[in-house]
Symmetry: C2
Subunit: 305 residues, 2 copies
């Protein structure tokens, strides 16, 4: 692994070396290393691009890393990764993709991740998208994440995209079974002429299901963001959607949530706010000796923490 690849790996998965436990590294559309454990088996799909990840029932305190790195310009790929997580598991899954585009052609990674989460299993899923490179070629990510949660199962999904990605179109769907829980924390910062679209369907399909979406975004310069967080209550359930956006420069932000109660025992709440950084917050930090830029940076960091 060269320096560039190591840097991307660090950015998207916080890895200084090969991860402990199961992993599959995808490098410029090919294999970059794989490790199975006694409980976690990764197989290459035979019918299309991608992998199947089987996690044995009862697997606890284990992790799977499946980072993707692209350093070739002009590489476009569509990958399907399917996760089968057995009952009573408690695992961390770290995905993410880093693109270094030094050329003038578009580099694009479209990943379709499907999770089948068994009864009472707990999954924490981290996904980070990172782009860099001196080239004029675009860096594009279009991730799709679909999760089906059986009774008592939970998924906590954290997605992060801070700068460097020219265009993204995200789709996330979680179907939560009885007593299950689906949480999405989304962090997004766009600048320049970047565009980002994020669409979500959280279906609270069983009694006692709960769902939560926390979306925090910053749009700078001429960038544009659109959000469609949708929560549907089909049973006795609780759902909460919270979207906060900071708008700067000449950016544009649109938020079109939907909450739908299909059952009278569904309790659904939505909150959204779009606005500038409050002037008095800036002022306060500036009286402490920070420049306006430093104060802004400090506030954005806190907001996207």
């Amino acid at each position: 692994m060269d320096k560039l690849e190591a840097k991307l790996l660090k950015e998207i998965a916080d890895l200084d070396s090969l991860p402990v436990g199961a992993y599959n590294i995808r490098k410029n559309g090919g294999a970059g290393g794989r490790n199975n454990t006694a409980h976690i088996v990764i197989d290459t799909k035979t019918d299309k691009s991608g992998i199947d990840i089987h996690i044995a029932p009862g697997t606890k305190h284990e992790s799977v890393h499946i980072p993707v790195i692209i350093t070739e310009t002009g590489l476009t790929e569509l990958v399907y990764n399917d996760f089968y997580i057995g009952e009573d598991c408690d695992v961390d899954i770290v995905a993410g993709c880093g693109i270094h585009n030094g050329g003038c052609d578009t580099s694009q990674h479209d990943g379709v991740h499907t999770f089948h989460v068994g009864k009472n299993a707990k999954v924490r899923y981290y996904e980070k998208h990172y782009g860099e490179g001196e080239g004029t070629g675009k860096r594009i990510f279009n991730p799709q994440t679909i999760a089906y949660l059986e009774e008592g199962a939970s998924i906590h999904m954290e997605t992060t995209q801070i700068r460097g990605v020219d265009s993204t179109k995200r789709y996330t769907k979680i179907v939560v079974g009885p007593g299950g829980e689906g949480t999405i924390t989304e962090k997004l910062l766009t600048d320049g002429a970047q565009v980002a679209e994020s669409e979500m369907d959280i279906v609270l399909a069983g009694d006692g299901a709960s769902g939560r979406v926390i979306s925090r975004s910053v749009a700078q310069d001429e960038s544009q963001q659109i959000f469609y967080p949708r929560m549907i209550g089909e049973a006795k359930c609780f759902g909460h959607v919270q979207c906060d956006s900071i708008i700067m420069g000449n950016a544009k932000i649109k938020s079109i949530p939907a909450i739908t109660a299909e059952c009278p025992d569904a309790q659904l709440i939505h909150e959204a706010a779009i606005g500038r950084i409050a002037g008095d917050q800036l002022m306060k930090l500036m009286t402490l000796g920070l420049t306006e830029e430093e104060a802004e940076e400090r506030i954005l960091n806190g907001f996207l923490q």
Copy 2:
């Protein structure tokens, strides 16, 4: 005016007799009485059904009542009413429609109201829809309200529909100029198999414009409600949308708001909540001696106050 007509008039405009000031009463698609004042002139349209209402600049503490009553079964009408409100006015406008349908055919009133509100004028606009009658014929209202506010102008719109209306499809649009203010307070209760849809566009088009939507609804039995409140900030403005719905029986409620910041100085907030009446609220009132039904009624009345 017979007893039935008097009752409808009381329900929709809180009138015990003919109103003071300017008025135009529409009765079963025809004229039911009109009065002009020195400052307010009502003319019948010559090209289509409806009236033009001209309010002279500087008119203050005056009101216009334009109630519509329908007691014939099978009557369907589409009416255009245009309001021209001069600069610096401060007026109340009371519209509303009551249908008594004693037959088996549909009675339907579709009203398109357009307001041109002059510089610094203040308008309070009340609209109440009421339906009753022992017949099996449907009672349907499809109101459209469009308001254009010049600099510093304001409109405060209050719409109420509590039971009795089988189907309604509302559309409201307010374009708010610099320093202007548009407020919509919507109260809606549906029961039985009633359906209600309310769509709104609030365009904050000038610096210092502000907009506020407060929507409170109750859906009982098998009734269905859909809300599309949309707020667009095109300038340095402040907008707030708040939708609260109580769901009962087997009702379904869907809320699909949209907030769009087209300008970085736009500050927009949206909140929505759908849920049952809280059990502890009911319990508290029941320990004070109320039956469950009485407690529920008390809470709903407070909510829709």
